[in-house]
Symmetry: C2
Subunit: 305 residues, 2 copies
């Protein structure tokens, strides 16, 4: 990690964001609680931590979003497009003003809080592998047992995700399983742990006080989404097979059961290649609007640029 | 059960209803599948089974309801009140016309399909204990392992529930846990089993072919709902304690943990009486609109009138 140390940039402004999806109430509850209790983060002497609620109307209505998914609205070209008028598009511009490119005090790093109905445990999504972001992923993998790291390569300016507003980087925290609209203690606690460890990492990063980190860590990279079985008219005609329900990030091979039709028949997994795949977001409630049943990932060794 | 046999009434018209809550997609999927495949129930020679989707707009929007909970709209006085104009109030009147009091072919018996985010397994709710309804509960308790029977005493004309439209009776099937908006095979299968066994019971009832049933069965009766911790301003300030999360229908005694405040503190259960209580609907997503955390039940011995 010598290169990381050489390139070290100082992270000062940190934004923690809840309610990017209005019915993922864990992040909403954490941020509201901290705002009410005027939580202090003074134990992190090098950081200035602020909290935000992102999709205010969706939070009030306990819905994922009103007009479109807020966490797909942050491509810079969209943020700069004055003709975008949907609620979430306007909200994205406002957040960009609050702590993004247009902010007086721009966030150096953004922590975006999410939950999933899938059995994914503690996981993070990152879109960069610069020294700062890679080191965070390696650090969290070290201190949080069973953490899964999902890597989706995308340029900051082209990233649709809220956490790309961070000047130096950002991370999406994704914890499950929990139903939408429900606050579970186990999920709440795992979220708090990942926030705390991320802030601790940033503090240690600033103070050049990190433990030695490996040059590469196991991670998962998105390949494609698989659609649920549909009728010729496009109606839902099946579901995730019980063989893979609740088994996110377990290997899935050719010929194994993947779907059950409503008629009871089993559909087998028949991929084009003989690779080992890892289903993630298995039976995620939020993806039923597009009838997506799961995301296929491949295992990778993630290293820093 | 001699009295039941003497009083035996014939059940012919059976209505199976899905989507009374639009985001409880298990019942919706079952009913849509049967309507598409023109499912035949000819193996039940004494029954005429029809299927209905109840809250059509809520199903389309994947929400519990639009204006108010449809499953609270079936008091006869409300159905007869022409000034009720909310969507669900109008829909209740239409269902009353389709298979209720105003129907040409009134349903003798109504099976209403529900799911819960709580860990309640297979359960039924009944509001009567006449020989027909009691015998159904006793029969299902006999053939479905771990079935829980919830009894809420309420007159048919005053019942707010959809299944009270049945001339001779009805039952609410409640299966969990599943997130809202998600179709899980285990929940789907348990729902199909309870539907099948209910139809089989009605067939045997008509044919005087029931096995011997006990004179009383264990059941649970609703006492009160407990609210989640709130701030003085009425905002959510805590959650279900991990001690009782996922432990629906386990006994809860004075002094045991019941809530966690967002600050981390534990709140103990301090009831007025020394009875043993059974929490049910623990952390049910649908009840957050009123910030209800659980329903307290007491154990009863249910017998027929």
């Amino acid at each position: 990690m010598d290169r990381a140390v050489e390139n070290r940039v100082h992270v000062k402004q940190v934004a923690i964001v809840g309610g990017t999806h209005g019915n993922e109430v864990t992040g909403v509850s954490i941020v509201k609680h901290w705002q009410r209790s005027e939580a202090q983060f003074e134990r992190f002497s090098t950081l200035n931590v602020v909290t935000h609620l992102a999709n205010l109307k969706a939070i009030a209505e306990n819905r994922r979003y009103l007009d479109r998914d807020l966490n797909r609205c942050f491509q810079f070209s969209e943020l700069d497009d004055g003709k975008r008028v949907l609620y979430e598009e306007c909200r994205a511009k406002a957040l960009d003003q609050l702590f993004g490119r247009r902010a007086e005090q721009r966030a150096d790093f953004v922590i975006d809080l999410h939950t999933t109905t899938s059995n994914m445990g503690s996981s993070i999504v990152i879109t960069e592998r610069d020294p700062l972001t890679y080191s965070l992923a390696a650090y969290l993998s070290h201190v949080v047992p069973d953490l899964k790291v999902y890597y989706k390569e995308v340029n900051q300016s082209e990233s649709p995700y809220l956490f790309s507003l961070g000047r130096l980087g950002g991370v999406l925290i994704e914890i499950g399983p929990t139903p939408q609209g429900v606050l579970r203690f186990d999920v709440y606690q795992k979220t708090l742990t990942l926030i705390e460890e991320t802030l601790l990492f940033l503090e240690k990063w600033n103070q050049s006080d990190l433990p030695e980190l490996p040059d590469a860590i196991p991670a998962y990279q998105f390949i494609e989404s698989l659609l649920l079985p549909r009728t010729p008219e496009g109606e839902l005609n099946g579901m995730i097979h019980e063989h893979i329900q609740d088994r996110d990030v377990h290997p899935l091979k050719r010929g194994e059961p993947i779907f059950r039709l409503l008629s009871g028949e089993t559909v087998l997994f028949e991929p084009d290649s003989d690779e080992t795949f890892y289903p993630v977001f298995v039976n995620e409630a939020a993806y039923y609007d597009q009838l997506k049943g799961l995301s296929l990932m491949k295992g990778i060794e993630l290293s820093s640029t």
